[in-house]
């Protein structure tokens, strides 16, 4: 068994993760909506790393399909990485919550049951530093990620006895399509490849919560420590 399943595989971070894992000898299941757009990417990985890649159509909002999708995998993956993320505006509250939280949780629940039974596997999900404290600029997204973070923490607790490792990833700014056009501070902004390297290393080492870049751990510590009466007046 050598497959790692990546969901939300079309995102820039997911692609970087796919390359990183293929580079280290893993085969890949890539799942995403309109998966045909991933064909060239999958071909690139085959040429680069001589690995097996299989692409699957998956709509994270089509909850009913999740079980069918997972059951259809003949060889079950030895780990799953969710790179699902949607940064919508306030008018897209439902979609933001359902993509970032409900959909991901629904699918991971199914996989977690399988891993728990097999007593092996790893689950990595990309949450966000935005979930550490709600701010007016993106609190719908942030609150969905906060819920995901809490879910992962509980799941980690539950699966500990089954020897299944759960890792929460909290990226800060990352230069991707999702953040294109935003004026991000260069020193605090990671490249997708750096995030992927961090994730691979941390997952292999069994880390529980990963901030990437690492400095975000300290930035968020400061942000979380600001008293609410002051925080509410701030422009963040």
């Amino acid at each position: 068994m050598s497959y790692v399943l990546i969901i939300g595989a079309k995102s820039d971070i997911a692609k970087a993760i796919a390359r990183e894992y293929a580079k280290h000898g893993y085969d890949l299941y890539l799942a995403a909506r309109n998966v045909s757009e991933l064909e060239e990417f999958a071909n690139d990985i085959k040429i680069r790393f001589n690995r097996n890649i299989k692409c699957f159509e998956l709509d994270i909002l089509d909850y009913i399909s999740h079980k069918y999708f997972y059951d259809s995998l003949e060889e079950k993956p030895l780990g799953v990485i969710s790179a699902v993320g949607y940064l919508g505006d306030v008018s897209e509250t439902q979609k933001t919550i359902n993509t970032n939280y409900t959909g991901v949780v629904n699918l991971i629940n199914i996989i977690a049951d399988d891993f728990e039974q097999r007593k092996s596997g790893f689950i990595v999900a990309i949450s966000s530093v935005a979930g550490d404290r709600g701010r007016k600029s993106n609190y719908i997204y942030g609150s969905a990620k906060a819920a995901l973070t809490a879910y992962l923490s509980g799941l980690r607790n539950r699966l500990y006895d089954a020897n299944v490792h759960v890792m929460t990833v909290k990226p800060g700014f990352v230069a991707t399509k999702m953040t294109e056009g935003m004026d991000l501070p260069e020193k605090l902004t990671a490249k997708p490849e750096d995030v992927a390297k961090d994730i691979y290393k941390a997952q292999q080492n069994g880390k529980n919560v990963l901030y990437t870049k690492w400095i975000w751990k300290w930035i968020m510590l400061i942000i979380k420590s600001i008293p609410e009466f002051q925080f509410k007046k701030m422009n963040l």
Partner: protein, 432 residues
């Protein structure tokens, strides 16, 4: 956002756009008329600086590889380092590489880069089977030595001013080792150096580090390094961990005295007049890539690389004059490289021609441009020319004196309306 090239000079305010499929590229091109493609930002000067920049790095897929012929089809944003990482272990190497592997395939074509084997293998374009390019109107065309040969000759070395290179088929070179057998020859002066280049010209790779601070009897003393691929069957290749220069060094750190001492030590470290070493591909071709951001040693004002070539029959006299002037000015640096080129190719703006090329780094400081203006005159007096990928300052007159096909290039730009869309600070400065 603030953008600069490898020389950290100049700094400009620009908007960068990314694309990962052709329609997205067309959508970016359509509304802009002051745009230039940017690869990995390794050209030294203002070749890839413009108000609107098209970042091609995210367009970086391998499309096909034929293990029989060694022909790689890939998108333009692929880095040479990615090609090496993938294909050295399978017994293939790029046929032409410059002194950094951190450049894109698109950039390598646009600069028609050369390497230590120019006298044997020519420039990067000589390893190109064909490439595709998006023109000003969004049309995509294929160019090769036989299909659209005019556009091919204008685009290879054309600094991105003819369109956006999308993907390319490159012929890789079979190798049987990831090591290089290197011979280092220590020369006493310029005459000795020329003799050594002549004597070792059958080696595939050759380049000389030159001590540009040495004067008098030692003027032009070098360490000439020549090499061949080893044949030991060991194809192991790992990207070494990088050291990094974490911040800009204060710019006074590199001065006449420190450079002079470094150069003397570096030269003296090699004791024998001829010595042999077995070294890795990375340390032979890319010694500086091992230190990320090495450009920061020049401080916040940045630096420039001055590179010119002189025709073979005038190389000696011209170099003697130029090296004397640099040594007297005390402004040289430790990165100075001398190389004997083979014959020029037929591309309109490709830099190499038969003769000696000298490349020197200079920290940007008061008085530098005056010195370089003086050197420009000598280069032109000896019928030499300049390399646009390094340049940040030559005048229109100085540049065009060296390139006889420059008007053909300008006319082609007009005919295809490329001059209404693709511009860099450099293209405006030198009027192309």
């Amino acid at each position: 956002m603030a953008l600069q090239s490898w020389g950290n000079y100049p700094n400009i305010d620009a908007i960068a756009y990314k694309f990962d499929h052709q329609q997205a590229l067309k959508n970016i091109l359509d509304p802009h008329n002051n745009i230039i493609a940017r690869g990995n930002g390794r050209s030294y000067g203002d070749s890839a600086l413009s108000a609107h920049q098209l970042d091609i790095r995210s367009y970086n897929y391998f499309l096909d590889f034929d293990q029989e012929t060694g022909i790689l089809h890939c998108q333009a944003g692929v880095l040479l380092s990615e090609i090496l990482e993938t294909f050295i272990p399978r017994g293939w190497f790029v046929s032409v590489t410059p002194g950094t592997k951190l450049i894109t395939v698109g950039g390598a074509i646009a600069s028609d880069v050369h390497g230590k084997n120019h006298h044997v293998k020519g420039s990067f374009s000589d390893s190109i089977i064909e490439f595709t390019m998006m023109l000003e109107n969004g049309e995509i065309i294929t160019c090769s030595h036989v299909v659209n040969p005019e556009l091919f000759q204008a685009t290879c070395g054309g600094m991105g001013l003819t369109g956006i290179i999308i993907d390319a088929k490159i012929k890789l070179e079979a190798i049987n080792s990831s090591m290089i057998n290197q011979v280092t020859i220590k020369t006493k002066n310029l005459q000795d150096t020329f003799k050594a280049f002549e004597q070792y010209k059958d080696y595939t790779y050759s380049v000389a580090w030159i001590d540009c601070m040495a004067k008098g009897d030692s003027l032009g003393r070098c360490l000439l390094m020549v090499g061949e691929h080893a044949d030991d069957g060991n194809l192991d290749y790992i990207n070494r961990n990088k050291a990094s220069i974490p911040f800009q060094f204060p710019s006074f750190l590199l001065n006449n005295l420190t450079v002079k001492s470094f150069n003397s030590l570096y030269y003296a470290k090699v004791r024998k007049s001829v010595s042999e070493q077995k070294v890795s591909i990375d340390s032979f071709f890319y010694p500086l890539d091992a230190i990320a951001n090495w450009n920061r040693i020049y401080g916040k004002n940045g630096f420039t690389q001055y590179q010119f070539v002189l025709p073979l029959d005038k190389s000696y006299d011209g170099l003697e004059k130029i090296l004397s002037k640099i040594a007297a000015s005390g402004k040289g640096s430790f990165l100075a490289v001398l190389k004997l080129f083979g014959k020029a190719n037929s591309n309109w703006l490709s830099f190499p021609m038969e003769g000696y090329t000298l490349a020197l780094d200079f920290k940007i400081e008061p008085g530098l441009f005056e010195l370089l203006n003086e050197l420009d005159k000598i280069v032109l007096e000896y019928d030499g020319r300049f390399y646009l990928s390094k340049d940040v300052r030559v005048s229109k007159q100085t540049f065009e004196a060296g390139y006889k096909d420059i008007d053909k290039f300008r006319q082609l730009r007009k005919r295809y309306k490329m001059d209404q869309k693709f511009h860099s600070l450099q293209s405006k400065r030198v009027g192309i």
